[in-house]
């Protein structure tokens, strides 16, 4: 009976790295969860504020004539769309960061390694999306530089 249970335990232990979330690691993870939660919540609040600013517009023209002064609030369609896109994408990205923070916090509090590992999965998705966004941004920037360069060359050849 003892001989039968030994390989089972060995198999179980084979599934683990020789790494644990010890006291120091738990302390670090608790801090990581706290600050990542702050980052994600600040980002969510920031997107809401940006949306309010974009929807209610800003005073971008003011006319004064014969003692009359009036200003106008223009709702710029372009800025609203760009803020909306940023808020949606940023919201999705920061949702994963928030999920990471919550899972790690719960995992540490309940000493549940599975939850901590699930948290790391959310962090992986967060970094992955950020990486993909960065690659797309790099491509757009390079394209913009190339187009500006070609336009500059054609303008110079015409002039």
């Amino acid at each position: 009976m003892e001989n039968q249970s030994q390989p089972e335990v060995a198999n179980q232990l084979d599934n683990f790295f020789n790494l644990s979330f010890d006291t120091d690691a738990r302390q670090q993870l608790r801090q990581i969860a706290l600050w990542s939660k702050i980052v994600s919540l600040s980002a969510f609040a920031g997107y809401i504020v940006s949306l309010v600013v974009a929807i209610f517009g800003h005073k971008n023209y003011s006319l004064e004539a014969e003692g009359f002064s009036f200003g106008g609030y223009i709702r710029s369609g372009n800025s609203l769309v760009s803020v909306l896109i940023t808020a949606v994408f940023g919201g999705i990205i920061n949702y994963f960061l928030y999920r990471f923070a919550v899972a790690v916090d719960e995992g540490i509090q309940s000493s549940d390694a599975l939850k901590v590992n699930m948290g790391f999965d959310s962090l992986r998705i967060y970094f992955k999306i950020l990486g993909i966004v960065l690659v797309v941004a790099f491509c757009i920037a390079i394209l913009a530089i190339l187009i500006a360069f070609i336009m500059g060359l054609s303008a110079a050849s015409r002039g």
């Binding site: 179980q12 232990l13 599934n15 683990f16 790295f17 020789n18 790494l19 644990s20 979330f21 010890d22 006291t23 120091d24 690691a25 738990r26 670090q28 993870l29 801090q31 990581i32 600050w35 990542s36 702050i38 980052v39 600040s42 980002a43 609040a45 920031g46 504020v49 940006s50 309010v52 600013v53 209610f56 800003h58 005073k59 000493s111 390694a113 599975l114 901590v116 590992n117 790391f120 999965d121 962090l123 992986r124 970094f127 992955k128 950020l130 990486g131 960065l134 790099f138």
Partner: protein
């Protein structure tokens, strides 16, 4: 002192699933940190090469800006250095954690987590400052 029962030993261990997820996390964070370093380097290069020209153009558009150039420059350099430290910490996290997992080195793994903590701490402070700036914009609206 914490008593080490077999249950507690198995309780909070990094399993292979978690380890593999962490490995991929580390791969992406390394990519992000190296890209961040390149971006910061390019920004510094642009500032050094085209700095006087940018200042001249800004001065033309906003007369009287020359009085604020030194504080703006100091603020910009401060932000660049803070971002530099943040990106370096992310790089440290990726290197230390990967090495910690590969060598099964607990101390190195913990140092990697410390790097991630500092990265999120800096990000958190910057996020709060950004939020305050956004709220300031909101209050000036009404």
């Amino acid at each position: 002192m914490e008593e080490k029962t077999p249950e507690s030993l198995l309780d909070m261990h990094l399993d292979y699933d978690g380890g593999n997820r962490l490995r991929e996390t580390v791969r992406w964070s390394r990519f992000l940190s190296i890209s961040g370093m390149i971006c910061l380097g390019l920004c510094a290069l642009v500032l050094v090469i085209a700095g006087p020209k940018i200042i001249a153009i800004c001065d033309e558009s906003y007369p009287g800006l020359e009085n604020f150039i030194v504080p703006i420059l100091i603020l910009f350099l401060l932000l660049m250095s803070v971002l530099g430290v943040s990106v370096f910490m992310l790089y440290r996290f990726s290197i230390m954690t990967r090495n910690g997992i590969e060598r099964q080195d607990q101390a190195m793994f913990n140092r990697g987590l410390k790097g991630l903590k500092v990265y999120f701490l800096i990000s958190g402070v910057l996020a709060i400052l950004g939020l305050l700036f956004n709220i300031l914009t909101l209050t000036s609206l009404f």
